[in-house]
Amino acid sequence: MKSALYRQSARRRGLALAALLALAALPPLLQALGQDFYVSVAARILIFALAATSLNFIVGFGGLVAFGHAAFFGAGAYAVAILAERGVTAAVVAWPAAAALAGVLALLIGAISLRTRGVYFIMITLAFAQMIYYLFISLKAWGGDDGLPLPARSTFGPLDLKDDAVFYWVALACLAAALFVLDRIAHARFGRVLQGIRENESRMAALGYPVAAYQLACFVIGGTLAGLAGALIANHSLLASPNLLHWTQSGTLLVMVIVGGVGTLYGGFAGALTLLLLEELLTGVTVHWHAALGLLLLVVVFRAPRGVAAWLHGLFARGAAK
């Protein structure tokens, strides 16, 4: 007899596969409807979903509330732009390089920041992100305030990334791969220990686990994935903008995570989807859409404290019970 856990995860895997197929079918569908523009919008949502997912791994899974994720996101974008300027346009070289750079940055920042806890950790990660931001805007060689433009999207073997649909599929593949890897990590021994640390740090330390090393590893994994997302966003907008490094970007990513659902696998995706779709919808309705977004966020805080994903789940569960 199959165990309940196995049945559940098999069902979950089936659902995830169905969602993936549905998402993969989106570009031809949109193009058939004559809405080609929205393929690009959808790609942007997937990229932000990847960035938010990587932050959610640190915040929700590692229990480390970091407020400087823009540093890794932006560093990835700048790495691709700088490499492109030097003539390195192959995605197989530039994208892993961007992710690796962000990972090394996360290693350095994390090693120092993890000496602090709670609010102090929030603030010191913010401080490091601000340092990176000011470093990039004051270096004229890298575009200063204007950012560094990309001459063209990266080359990716036989794939033509200039085609929005192809780019969308590559972004989707990156997101799906990241979600798969993070899911595996969550269920591996490493993930179990990490969750133990999140729930009770001193107990895990007393049991002999090297708490700081585990947390640092978690921080570096999140940072590396954010670097990959940065490489994608630079390719999407053909610009490594200092805005990507600004603290409001860290804030936006954190808001996506909280709106989507802290500590859930799909929380980052749900948050990015909700926020960016709302932005798309509200900008069409009113120029004061920021105010409307603010009001909606307040509603989320007070009505759906565990995030949109959990709220929808609860709504369906209640509906099914009736």
Binding site: W247, L297, V300
Partner: protein, 304 residues
């Protein structure tokens, strides 16, 4: 050269004192209620706009400043009673989300009332010129800011250290539950602290208005500096906020003025001119990271 250093040091002192006005309210909110209020910078912005509007309507700078302080304190109290009060029991993430939402709403509200363009707020005519201090001239208006800053810092010290309300605030910052158990109405005390903090924000906004631009988004840039200040000083400590503000104000101002010049002494001119401003901009963040590295709870931790 000495004159330049002295002048920049005074500018740093002036900026530091204004930062203190913001950080004082923020550190108490943080310390007593363990609440991250990202919207603190929005109160500073609202204060500056109210000052500009009231000064334009009445023709008097002083009336503008007083109206801004009273108006913003009222806005702060209203905000506390309607929204923020519900957040104290929640975790930091919920507080970040809610107050981030408040920033969005505040910015849009200000844009809706006053438009996208920066509004004008002029220093009083009588203080427009420079005055002679110890052999060199310094803008009179900046001296006024220093005087007001010192006076408010002293007043705050007396209130916090010598009065009953101040004792409650200090007790609340070091142990909220115990203070409540001793019969202090921390809820009401907190509305008061929040309104006072908002008033101080408005004072800083109104005084800095003539020097910096009064525009949408002005709150966010200074908010980060205020957070740096209270983290350096130790969250919940007024004394820490004062030391942190002066440190950040002076280091930031002197760094921007002197670092490019210092680097030119031992680096090639081209490298120095790129590296100087970059290094000056990140100097205070380096300072903060260094302080947190050696003293992870800041210079003057409020909780033992």
């Amino acid at each position: 050269m000495t004159q330049l250093i002295l002048e920049q040091a005074l500018n740093g002192l002036q900026f530091g004192l204004m930062l203190f006005l913001l950080a004082a309210g923020l550190t108490l909110v943080f310390g007593i209620m363990d609440m991250i209020n990202l919207a603190h910078g929005s109160l500073y912005m609202v204060g500056a706009y109210l000052a500009a509007a009231a000064a334009a309507a009445s023709g008097s700078f002083v009336v503008g400043v007083l109206a801004a302080v009273a108006g913003t304190a009222a806005v702060g109290a209203l905000l506390e009673v309607t929204v923020l009060r519900r957040l104290y029991a929640r975790d930091h993430l919920a507080q970040v989300l809610a107050t981030f939402a408040l920033i969005l709403i505040a910015n849009e509200a200000v844009r809706w009332v006053w438009g996208d363009q920066p509004v004008l707020l002029n220093a009083p005519e009588a203080l427009a010129g420079p005055v002679e201090v110890a052999g060199f001239s310094y803008p009179a208006y900046r001296l006024l800011i220093i005087a007001v800053g010192v006076a408010v810092a002293l007043l705050l010290y007396v209130v916090v250290a010598k009065t009953r309300v101040g004792m409650w605030v200090r007790a609340g910052a070091s142990n909220r539950e115990m203070t409540e158990a001793l019969g202090v109405n921390v809820r009401r005390l907190f509305t008061l602290v929040f309104a006072a903090g908002a008033g101080l924000c408005a004072l800083a906004g109104a005084l800095l208005g003539p020097l910096l631009a009064v525009q949408v988004g002005m709150g966010e840039s200074i908010l980060i500096l205020a957070f740096v200040v209270i983290v350096i000083g130790g969250i919940g400590s007024i004394r820490g906020a004062l030391v942190g503000s002066l440190l950040v104000g002076v280091v930031d101002t002197l760094g921007r003025a002197l670092l490019p010049w210092l680097l030119r002494g031992f680096l090639p001119a081209e490298t120095a001119s790129t590296l100087g401003p970059a290094l000056a901009a990140i100097l205070i963040y380096l300072l903060m990271a260094a302080i947190l590295f050696w003293k992870p709870a800041g210079l003057f931790p409020a909780r033992g």
